[in-house]
């Protein structure tokens, strides 16, 4: 391990990430979207605690604490596409704009470049996690405080969900880098991310639950693992879908991050850059 070279790689990758507009554009959109979702869910769940589950047919009524958990972890339930995209762009952008050439001229040790990107994505992902989670909390808070059962921000369990929601979003950003190193075509990567997060995974999760022998499989899908890490979700508090426990959620999510990065390292990073 060469500490100086790693420090250089981390600083370079950080500068790369924050020297274009995309990171703050997506950050602002994420924040605004989460405030909006916090308001919507905070309002509807405090108005009618069975509205969520009722519409999905499970018939459960959420108590005040569950409402708080659901609202505070909304970023992990519906906002994770943003960190995923910014993480993927950090890799696909290099190929799209061919900056991979000067990057590998500056640091021919390709594994170090990927490692630095993963680490820096963890950092930016943490910032996104804070923005997204804070947005959902701020959006929902007024309704929980006035119309509902209280904010539950003094509850260590609920606070834990808030903290792990940030961690889960950070990991999504890291997974994005791995995905981008697998799928270096930017358009393809973004299309796959949108299709998977907005359509494929939600359908799979509900569909798999309906098939008895495969019922447990949905818990291991990345979105479900992230919700398990956060500790709760829109889907789980409503009783619609079950989750792994937090520790296993973390393991599964990390496994996805490691798998994508490893496959990227063994394929893309070994190819000629021409």
């Amino acid at each position: 391990m060469n500490a100086g070279a790693w420090r250089a790689a981390l600083l370079a990758e950080w500068r790369k990430l924050v020297s274009t507009r995309m990171w703050w554009l997506l950050g602002i959109v994420l924040g605004a979207y989460m405030v909006f979702m916090g308001v919507v869910m905070g309002f509807s769940l405090t108005t009618d605690p069975s509205s969520m589950s009722g519409s999905l047919g499970s018939g459960a009524t959420l108590d005040g604490r569950q409402i708080a958990q659901t609202v505070y972890t909304l970023a992990v339930s519906v906002g994770y596409v943003f960190p995923l995209v910014i993480g993927a762009l950090s890799m696909t952008g290099e190929f799209r704009h061919q900056t991979i050439t000067p990057t590998l001229l500056a640091e021919p040790r390709r594994g170090r470049v990927l490692g630095a990107k993963l680490a820096v994505a963890g950092l930016l992902g943490t910032a996104y996690g804070v923005i997204g989670t804070a947005g959902a909390v701020l959006g929902g808070l007024p309704f929980l405080a006035t119309k509902g059962d209280g904010t539950y921000l003094g509850d260590t369990g609920v606070l834990g969900d808030v903290v792990f929601s940030v961690v889960a979003i950070a990991l999504w950003c890291v997974i994005g880098v791995g995905l981008g190193s697998l799928l270096t075509n930017q358009v393809a990567a973004v299309v796959v991310i949108l299709a998977f997060t907005q359509f494929v995974e939600p359908v799979l999760r509900i569909g798999l639950t309906a098939i008895d022998p495969l019922q447990g499989v949905q818990k291991f899908l990345p979105g479900a693992a992230a919700e398990a890490l956060a500790g709760s979700s829109l889907y789980s508090t409503s009783g619609m879908l079950s989750l792994l426990d937090r520790g296993w959620g973390a393991v599964v999510l990390l496994a996805y991050a490691a798998l994508f990065a490893l496959v990227g390292a063994l394929t893309t990073l070994r190819r000629d850059v021409s």
Partner: protein, 307 residues
């Protein structure tokens, strides 16, 4: 040419080979670039120049052979951009990043600070544009920025792939002056590629010519100039006799108006041969051979038309 003391590292390429599908881009290339010199790396489009550079810089893995800088592979250099500065063809930038931020992004690897970024921007005349996004840059400005990036780590060796591409005539003059300044006042070793000899002729000491991925010529520029065969213009009442004489001596001959133009012999040789053959001469004049013709001949294209 004023020559200051020059540093640099030898670039040694041995049996370098690369095949893309069915295209043999580089085919057993052997060449040595001596330290301290400015070497023109010449060849027509598709000759394998860019591929050779990419292999030299560790971006493309060779199928065979080796390319070493000072005895080491580029990828084994601890801080490569402080040893070799490279600007490759179709320089690549993120359009949304400013020129200064582009350099700041690579500065940590070279171990340099923001001041050095401003310094190299000034050197290439981009100070005014430093904080503008590269997306709005002209081709010439991009080439300058690519040069600035190559200079960032203050390397002794510069590898420049077709730096004149996309430049307007004014830009080409600027580049020529800049390369000469780097070489002769700053003592840099430069390996510069081009598909047009004339572009680099004024800046280089040595030339390496490749075609179809193979070395076809390696010498000093002076020796290449000497290769440019003399052309002798002959006025004679007996063109048929001269044509026969030229064929006998193996000198290609062309009719140009009333005159004949012979290639390959000097005035003295042609005159002596005519005297011995008893041919009458009314005029005999030597014309300089064109370097561009030599280049085209070496790389296997048809030579240009007669002057």
């Amino acid at each position: 040419m004023p020559t200051t003391e020059r540093a640099g590292l030898p670039v040694e390429i041995r049996g370098l080979t690369k095949t893309f599908g069915t295209v043999r881009a580089v085919d057993g290339l052997d060449m040595v670039v001596r330290p301290g010199a400015v070497t023109g790396f010449l060849g027509p489009n598709g000759a394998g120049k860019t591929t050779t550079f990419r292999m030299l810089l560790g971006l493309v893995g060779p199928d065979g052979g080796s390319a070493l800088i000072g005895g080491r592979r580029y990828a084994d250099l601890a801080h490569p951009t402080t040893v070799v500065g490279a600007a490759l063809e179709s320089a690549s930038f993120h359009p949304g990043r400013t020129a200064r931020d582009h350099l700041r992004t690579y500065a940590p690897y070279a171990g340099v600070d923001d001041r050095r970024c401003d310094e190299v921007l000034a050197q290439v005349g981009l100070t005014e544009a430093a904080r503008r996004r590269v997306g709005g840059f002209s081709a010439g400005m991009r080439q300058r920025l690519a040069l600035a990036a190559a200079l960032l780590g203050d390397p002794q060796v510069l590898v420049l792939d077709e730096p004149a591409n996309g430049l307007d005539p004014e830009g080409i003059v600027w580049l020529r002056t800049f390369l000469r300044h780097l070489a002769h006042e700053r003592g840099r070793m430069i390996l510069v590629s081009s598909h047009v000899l004339g572009e680099v002729q004024a800046s280089v000491d040595d030339v390496v010519v490749i075609a179809h991925g193979r070395l076809v010529h390696e010498s000093s520029l002076d020796d290449l100039v000497a290769l440019a065969s003399p052309r002798v213009r002959v006025a004679s009442p007996d063109p048929a006799g001269f044509t026969a004489l030229a064929a006998d001596r193996g000198w290609p001959v062309e009719q140009d108006g009333d005159d004949l133009v012979l290639t390959g012999g000097s005035c003295a040789e042609v005159g002596a041969a005519a005297y011995r053959a008893g041919l009458e001469i009314h005029g005999l004049a030597e014309e300089g051979g064109s370097l561009e013709d030599v280049f085209l001949r070496l790389t296997g294209a048809a030579p240009g038309g007669a002057a």
